[in-house]
């Protein structure tokens, strides 16, 4: 289970899960699950364009993530939030489909980007993941109060729009860098399931943030272990366990209702 060639996979997945747990807390509070699904898809055109035009992968990802966030912010000005997100999603995926098919490694790349091949990652993937796992939580902690207030009472905070821009750019960058290694499904499940459960269970926002990161780690470790044991894809266990975790938290809370901070639902 911890064979040397699997070790990079364990480390990278844990680092990504830690960052995703932090980000997911705000995703759930701001009810931005759809954006958390759509913006990371910038990795499709980003990674494929980098291969096609022969530039470094990080450059392609950076440009695509920023373009995706900018597109979403522009569309939001004249459109309902969910419809604007849907249009951003298909724009990114449509471009990705073109670049991937032109670069000639369509089938493998699509499966990898969507469902991930964590155990295919090597030692070279660890440093970027480490940077991600340090910088993203740090940025979120730095802006903890404005982001939290902006999420809970958007009308109350002056400059709420600035918080929105900051959050979406952070989300796009963090997720699209994690995506080529872990796949869209893994990142998204790690951002919604544990955070949803944490927001249901925690007694305060700070506890919720911590619990979310802890649950994300527990989730990815169980998924990796089950995947090694069965030989089935990691994405399957992550997606299904995330849903079970969320359901269990909801049932626990229904059985023992307590007064709590005004989180979502």
């Amino acid at each position: 289970m911890f064979a040397p060639y699997l070790l990079s996979g364990w480390i990278v997945a844990s680092l990504v899960a830690f960052a995703a747990g932090f980000t997911g807390f705000f995703v759930v509070l701001r009810r931005e699950s759809f954006a958390a699904h759509a913006l990371p898809m910038a990795a499709f055109p980003g990674a494929a364009a980098a291969t096609l035009f022969g530039v470094a992968q990080w450059a392609g990802l950076l440009v695509a993530a920023l373009l995706g966030a900018a597109l979403l912010l522009w569309l939001k000005r004249g459109q309902r939030r969910d419809a604007a997100t849907a249009l951003t999603l298909v724009a990114l995926l449509g471009l990705g489909a073109l670049f991937l098919s032109l670069s000639g490694r369509y089938a493998n790349a699509v499966y990898g980007l969507l469902f991930g091949q964590v155990f295919a990652s090597g030692p070279a993937d660890i440093p970027p993941a480490l940077v991600l796992a340090v910088l993203v939580p740090l940025a979120l902690l730095l802006f903890f109060r404005p982001l939290l207030l902006g999420a809970l009472s958007p009308d109350f905070v002056a400059g709420g729009a600035r918080g929105d821009v900051l959050f979406l750019i952070l989300l796009a960058l963090a997720a699209s860098f994690a995506l080529p290694v872990t796949g869209a499904l893994l990142v998204f499940s790690l951002m919604t399931g544990p955070a949803g459960a944490a927001c249901t269970l925690a007694a305060s926002p700070r506890a919720g943030l911590l619990l979310s990161a802890m649950l994300a780690l527990a989730l990815i470790w169980s998924a990796l272990a089950l995947s090694v044991a069965t030989g089935w894809p990691v994405g399957f266990f992550t997606g299904v366990l995330a849903a079970l975790l969320f359901l269990a938290a909801r049932m626990w809370r229904t059985a023992r209702p307590v007064p709590r901070w005004p989180g979502p639902a």
């Binding site: 759930v28 009810r31 931005e32 699950s33 759809f34 958390a36 699904h37 569309l75 004249g78 459109q79 309902r80 969910d82 419809a83 997100t85 849907a86 249009l87 999603l89 298909v90 724009a91 995926l93 449509g94 471009l95 489909a97 073109l98 098919s101 032109l102 369509y106 089938a107 493998n108 699509v110 499966y111 969507l114 469902f115 869209a184 499904l185 998204f188 499940s189 919604t192 399931g193 949803g196 089935w232 894809p233 994405g235 399957f236 266990f237 992550t238 997606g239 299904v240 995330a242 849903a243 969320f246 979502p264 639902a265």
Partner: protein, 272 residues
């Protein structure tokens, strides 16, 4: 060149499926945008993709697979009130995509169909099964007829749930029936542009039409026409692309998506 285009059975099939999917999606899409259920629409598409993967694994019709799982998904999504649907849709989307990953894993390792992920998620209209055009047309007509029967109560419930409930409409039943129709339109779009891109046909033309007119019936007709023009234009461009890069066809899903988005961008730009 045009003679060859219309004479080809593959192209006829593609035009039939694409047109049927676009017409139904345009009408359903206007309701979806008005109800603020774009994410539910996308989540249904991703859930139904596991039906597509199951169909590959079992060797049954992809349309049956997509629709079967889409129905299951709409049962799950229908449990929720609209207010806290965002997270629930996200969680179900993750679980659905997880099952797709597992089924594709089996399909690739047991049946050796390496391109299945691309076909299911990103579609390949030119590779649709020969008889699928007739089924798509029938499905689209049935869906449009069903919507026509429900038109007034569904529209009222979409604009204001409270008002509809006051007037005695069964709001929850309507919401559920709408999700079933959404699953049908997602199935047809998944056959044309793939599960994950089906949102392009659902939301794109509807959002464009709603910026051009505020009258719901006019918006639906306009969205259906816009969607069909984009779908057919996409098929024609993909057919023509064979001569741009010799020996390789650009993905037809890209052209359809691009037409949809460029139309939206042009309208949004002019309207400011």
């Amino acid at each position: 060149m045009l003679d060859g285009f219309f004479a080809s059975a593959v192209v006829q099939n593609a035009l039939l499926i694409g047109g049927a999917a676009a017409a139904l999606s345009g009408v359903i899409g206007v309701f979806t945008v008005l109800r603020g259920q774009s994410f539910a629409g996308h989540a249904l598409a991703d859930i139904s993709s596991s039906g597509g993967a199951l169909a590959v694994l079992l060797g049954i019709s992809p349309m049956a697979g997509f629709f079967g799982l889409g129905l299951l998904g709409s049962l799950g999504l229908g449990q929720r009130r609209r207010a806290d649907s965002d997270l629930a849709a996200g969680i179900m989307l993750g679980a659905g995509l997880g099952c797709t990953a597992l089924l594709l894993h089996f399909a690739v390792s047991q049946r050796g169909v390496a391109g299945a992920a691309v076909t299911i998620m990103f579609g390949s209209l030119f590779a649709a099964p020969p008889g699928a055009g007739g089924w798509a047309l029938g499905g689209a007509l049935a869906g449009l007829l069903f919507i026509a029967c429900l038109y007034r109560p569904l529209l009222l419930a979409s604009l204001s749930e409270e008002l509809a409930a006051l007037r005695g409409a069964k709001v929850r039943l309507l919401g559920f029936l709408f999700l079933v129709m959404l699953a049908l339109s997602v199935t047809l779009s998944a056959m044309s542009v793939g599960a994950i891109l089906s949102t392009a046909l659902l939301i794109g033309p509807a959002a464009t039409a709603l910026r051009l007119t505020r009258r719901p019936a006019a918006a639906m007709a306009l969205a259906a026409v816009l969607g069909m023009v984009c779908a057919w234009g996409g098929v024609a461009l993909a057919y023509a692309s064979y001569s741009w890069t010799p020996g390789r066809v650009w993905p037809v899903s890209f052209f359809i998506t691009a037409c949809v988005l460029l139309t939206y961008a042009a309208v949004a730009w002019r309207r400011g």
